[in-house]
Symmetry: C2
Subunit: 229 residues, 2 copies
DNA sequence: GCTAATTAGCGTAGACTATACGCTAAATCG
DNA sequence: CGATTTAGCGTATAGTCTACGCTAATTAGC
């Protein structure tokens, strides 16, 4: 029931008019799974929990979804949705910046997706549309295909890395305090403890850090691109 | 037995001379877990498998490790090891480049660590040393503390993002082919399908993509830093 | 050397997972 | 009215992690 990439991609649903009509739908299942993940985290998403929410038997889910792996992949592709349209004529720099900000907004809205995208997993059509828009943002430049791809991955990697401390307890939390509390930390981790001491690690203004990093990346791209479009 | 950060950080093992002596050690357990992950992937690492390799009962592991979560955290911190010493006087640019290349080498050697580092998890002392060295590489610059931190995270994010397609089947694999095989792909994902058509997505020369991205990031940093040290 | 204290090893059991199989119910087609 | 097709789902199986409590091995103090 639906590992067919074609159906997932192009929406050739083609509901067969024979047989018992479905009460459940894949969309409902995925939506409920996303709701659980948003509220309680990805690891609280189990087939049982999803079935309870939909008031159906656990095995009924498998009529609409191949298994948990596919369900999780669908969660991501559904939650991220189609990429924003960047075809406006603002020039590549602002287009890439918008792409980066939109990506960041997604991970802030659905923090559970962050570890997910690093996993080896099937890619969905919406995610492809994001890649496509990212590449499109660089269309006006004279970068080669491989360079454009590399550029999108630089931006994407930067966004993910920057969002992580915003989204996860451990980074901003008491963890650093434990490390830096020991007096020997000054000797062993001098740079980190200095940063910690002056409050630079508190992540109180994540937007500023993000914009700083973004401008760094864009500056680097601009130098490689040469001219602005 | 040992969620004590202190012991983990500073090696204050302080084996108590009373009681039955230990036949197992945390180091052995972690080493065996790493061996499994290297050979078969992280998800093949179970307490049972580790115990089998060590020829001991499953619950014996819990005398040396708090639980699976801590074990996995220890795997990463042990596998990555202490950061390379970058205190040579090559200037910040080459120091950051070395840091990035070393980070990439780690993920290539232990691909299972890639999804791991994106998870919300306890950070270990070796990982802190990497952060510290990364910050140290930028010591000669006039960047503020927060900016240095942001810079390290840009580089780190870039490395992770760039390594992912090198390490995972799905990215270089038949997945893209499925998407791009359909004639409608040209219309819906024009930029991606163009890249796919001319072979730019085959990831045949990952080093080149990596170096391209790295230079982009370094150029961006250089512009923010102004002078080279 | 004996006893108490301390620690390591680990078997059992419980509470979770995901999912393969096969049955039953509900719909349409001929 | 069958025959066919599909949906819903109960049961059972094979995993997972780990809390608890017992036994064994060692040392400290007497």
């Amino acid at each position: 029931m639906g590992q067919d990439v074609r159906e997932l991609l192009w929406g050739d649903a083609a509901r067969p008019p024979r047989g018992r009509p479905a009460g459940l739908s894949r969309e409902q299942i995925v939506a409920e799974a996303i709701a659980i993940a948003d509220a309680e985290g990805l690891q609280k998403v189990s087939m049982k929990r999803v079935a309870e929410r939909l008031d159906c038997g656990v095995m009924s889910l498998y009529r609409h979804v191949d298994g948990k792996e596919q369900l999780v992949a669908l969660m991501h592709d559904t939650a991220i949705g189609p990429a924003p349209d960047l075809s406006a004529d603002r020039g590549w720099r602002e287009a890439v910046a918008e792409w980066a900000r939109a990506t960041r907004a997604y991970f802030l809205a659905h923090p559970w997706a962050l570890p997910l995208v690093t996993e080896d997993r099937p890619v969905g059509p919406n995610e492809v549309s994001w890649l496509d828009q990212g590449l499109g943002a660089l269309e006006s430049t004279r970068l080669s295909g491989a360079e454009r791809l590399a550029a999108v991955m630089v931006v994407n990697g930067f966004v993910r890395g920057g969002v992580q401390p915003e989204v996860q307890e451990s980074y901003a939390g008491a963890q650093w305090f434990d490390f830096m509390a020991d007096p020997r930390a000054r000797e062993r981790f001098p740079n980190t403890s200095a940063l910690f001491a002056d409050g630079s690690m508190s992540y109180e203004t994540p937007e500023l850090s993000f914009e700083f990093g973004l401008q760094v990346v864009l500056d680097g791209l601009e130098r490689r691109i040469g001219d602005a479009a």
